[in-house]
């Protein structure tokens, strides 16, 4: 096997670096993916199993049987010692340190077993009820729509507005450019978290509180986006713009027929970032929206957090559900980034 790989690499001298590379990447897959896989598996666990220690990879539930004479299903245990050793029996009730057990084939005879002599019979089962509950409990589709609307519209606005600004800042010489750039970098420094209250009050003055636009508009002009796009646009040769000007293109046309397509890779990156920010945003929507019909998935997800308790099973299920769309979008856009980056090397 080792020979096979090194031979196909063709360069005997470098073989250990290849090995190291693949080892690194393999470890990376484990480290990057493992925790998420754990999350997904956990979302199929019952609340009890979630609290179980040591935690187990797969979702287990204890087996139950329904026996004649008992209304509720009974938990099944495996007895390890005593006269019933080796048998699977159902527990009727437990009193102190002693369990009252019945054999499934003889549901009327109660046998007393010390609790130390029994262990639960468990099997792997997906608690899909975590997911079903979500749809029963609230208007999942409404939240999905709100989240999608905010994400799509906000990303479109961000891309448009940021790319226009980046175009101006990268391809024009004009008075005040330095000041604007300084302003962009300056506001890049101030995270939204520290200006929540002023931002809230300003948004309120525009009458945007409790509207989806109140979530969309304030974050649309991201300094990060302007910075990223500008940095990329600087690499587009000015001569191409001049050529377009000679070709009678208006500046606006140059922007959308030349600059936009040529910045596609950077725009794809910003699109992914913006989609993620908007989809995952929690703090600002929490402040801007307080009425359920406007809620996003992230807000709905967090309503499983009460004062004292958190409904982990539902929260995890919801988390996994909210992950699906971003992953799908990424799977789609990442190809685009790859081809975009590859084709700009066309010089």
């Amino acid at each position: 096997m080792a020979n096979f790989i090194t031979r196909t690499r063709g360069r005997q001298r470098l073989h250990w670096t290849d090995w190291a590379s693949y080892a690194y990447l393999g470890f990376g897959v484990l480290l990057m993916f493992g925790p998420v896989l754990w999350l997904v598996l956990s979302s199929f666990k019952t609340e009890t199993e979630l609290q179980h220690y040591p935690p187990r990879l797969l979702p287990y539930v204890q087996q139950t049987v329904t026996l004649p004479g008992y209304d509720d299903p009974l938990l099944v245990f495996h007895v390890t010692q005593g006269p019933l050793a080796g048998q699977d029996v159902a527990q009727v009730r437990r009193i102190g340190l002693v369990s009252q057990m019945v054999r499934p084939d003889d549901p009327t005879t109660i046998v007393k077993v010390p609790i130390a002599d029994r262990e639960p019979v468990e099997h792997v089962a997906l608690a899909t009820s975590n997911y079903q509950k979500l749809f029963q409990r609230f208007n999942f589709l409404r939240f999905l729509w709100n989240s999608t609307f905010i994400t799509v519209v906000a990303t479109a606005i961000t891309l448009l507005v940021n790319s226009m600004a980046a175009f101006a800042l990268s391809k024009y010489e004009f008075r005040g450019r330095g000041t604007v750039m300084a302003m962009v970098i300056g506001t890049l420094m101030i995270p939204q978290t520290v200006v929540l209250v002023p931002l809230f009050l300003i948004t309120r003055d525009f009458g945007l509180i409790n509207t989806l636009w109140g979530v969309i508009i304030p974050g649309a002009a991201t300094p990060t986006g302007v910075f990223l796009l500008r940095q990329y646009m600087l690499t587009i040769p000015d001569e191409i713009l001049d050529a377009a000007r000679m070709d009678n293109a208006s500046e606006w046309k140059i922007y959308w027929r030349i600059i936009l397509p040529l910045s596609a890779p950077a725009i794809a990156v910003l699109a992914i970032l913006s989609i993620m920010w908007r989809w995952n945003d929690f703090l600002w929507p929490l402040i801007a929206l307080s009425q359920t019909e406007n809620f996003t998935l992230q807000l709905a997800l967090n309503s499983f957090r009460g004062e004292f308790t958190t409904d982990w099973a539902s929260l995890l299920a919801m988390t996994v559900l909210t992950l699906v769309p971003v992953v799908a979008v990424f799977a789609f856009l990442q190809k685009y980034i790859a081809t975009g980056i590859a084709s700009t090397g066309g010089k």
Binding site: P237, E239, I240, D242, A243, A244, R245, M246, D247, N248, A249, S250, K253, R257, I258, P261, L262, A264, S343, T344, G346, K347
Partner: protein, 360 residues
């Protein structure tokens, strides 16, 4: 088609003046080359004509109209860029038709003009490719094609051949000349290569430091350069220059030799500091007699002709063109006779030509 006129055109970036007042007239249908060393302002001047660069002072007239305030699109020009500046995300066809679409030409019109231009430039088979799939020469043709389809009043070329290899450059040179003959438009062509200028131009404008040094037909520039700079820039190999002083109606070089020149051709004020210029073919190795003694540092034998490189006693480099083959070897000494008819004389102070009746 139109003529072009520049009147006192200047360009300044803040305090730095890069074009210092250029006057120029290019007649309709002329092929005019702007030539000069890098940084002389030739490309800036071209961009000012194109409208890409705003004009600080003076007037640019195209077809008699002042176009200073018009944008590039409204001047009816087309330009071929040094890097070709093809739109990387468009096919060749889209590259060619983009400008026409902007002019709101009809689809049918675009189609015929693109096809015509593509055939003319032999790129009709490449129409559906993208620029990255083309060779350098093909890209060059597309860039020219993009200008051709526009049917502009004036073509502008900004060092279009500098990215090509030597052979391709010669080929494209011919092709652009043919194109000019065929469509007959006014063309302005910027290059730093004087060979391109000599071979292609109807008129050459030599620029230095934002000033027009001389403007005229190629051979006029060659035969009667207005100053030492033009003399040195036009012609290959470069003209030889020797410093000296007028003494007794002749030029006494700093190395001691005296060169007699016909007094009716040049202004020769006694005692004036001068620069004597002689093209390599104005020097001939002689076996005996008076002349410039030179140490030979190298010989190039090309078969039909030879170049001899050497230096005078004070270290001035000398190049000699000798028809046929020569027996001179590097390391030896040689005496060079100067052909007075081939001599040029410049004032050392102003570097202007001292030829009588020379345009100053």
């Amino acid at each position: 088609m139109a003529d072009l006129e520049l009147r006192g055109v200047t360009k300044a970036y803040g305090a730095a003046e890069v074009i210092k007042g250029v006057d120029l007239q290019v007649a309709e249908g002329e092929f005019c080359v702007f030539v000069g060393p890098s940084g002389c302002g030739k490309s800036t001047l071209l961009r000012m004509i194109s409208g890409l660069e705003p004009i600080t002072g003076g007037e640019v007239r195209i077809g008699g109209e002042v176009v200073n305030r018009r944008g590039p699109a409204e001047r009816g020009l087309a330009m071929v860029f040094q890097s070709y500046a093809l739109y990387p995300h468009m096919t060749v066809r889209q590259n060619l038709s983009f400008g026409l679409e902007n002019l709101r030409a009809t689809k049918a019109d675009i189609e015929t003009r693109v096809t015509e231009a593509a055939q003319m430039l032999q790129i009709d088979k490449l129409l559906d490719r993208r620029p990255k799939d083309l060779s350098g020469g093909q890209r060059q043709r597309v860039a020219i094609g993009r200008a051709v389809v526009r049917e502009p009043r004036i073509f502008l070329f900004d060092e279009p051949l500098s990215n090509l290899d030597a052979e391709l450059r010669v080929e494209m040179r011919g092709e652009i000349s043919r194109l000019h003959r065929r469509i007959g438009n006014t063309m302005i062509y910027v290059t730093h290569d004087q060979v391109e200028a000599m071979t292609m131009a109807d008129k050459i404008a030599v620029l230095r430091d934002g000033r027009l040094e001389q403007f005229g037909r190629p051979l006029d520039l060659y035969n009667a350069p207005a100053n030492a700079f033009v003399a040195g820039f036009i012609g290959s190999p470069r003209m030889n220059f020797f410093t000296g002083r007028i003494a007794g109606g002749a030029v006494r070089l700093t190395t001691g030799e005296t060169v007699a020149l016909p007094g009716d051709t040049f202004d020769m004020a006694e005692g004036a500091e001068v620069t004597l210029g002689i093209r390599p073919n104005g020097l001939h190795p002689v076996d005996s007699g008076s002349g410039l003694s030179v140490t030979v540092t190298g010989v190039e034998r090309l078969g039909g002709e030879s170049y001899i490189y050497g230096s005078t006693q004070d270290g001035t480099a000398v190049t000699v063109h000798s028809p046929g083959q020569t027996a001179i070897e590097p390391g030896g000494a040689v005496t060079l006779a100067i052909d007075p008819a081939e001599a040029h004389l410049f004032s050392a102070k102003t570097s202007k030509s001292l030829r009588k009746g020379a345009a100053s």
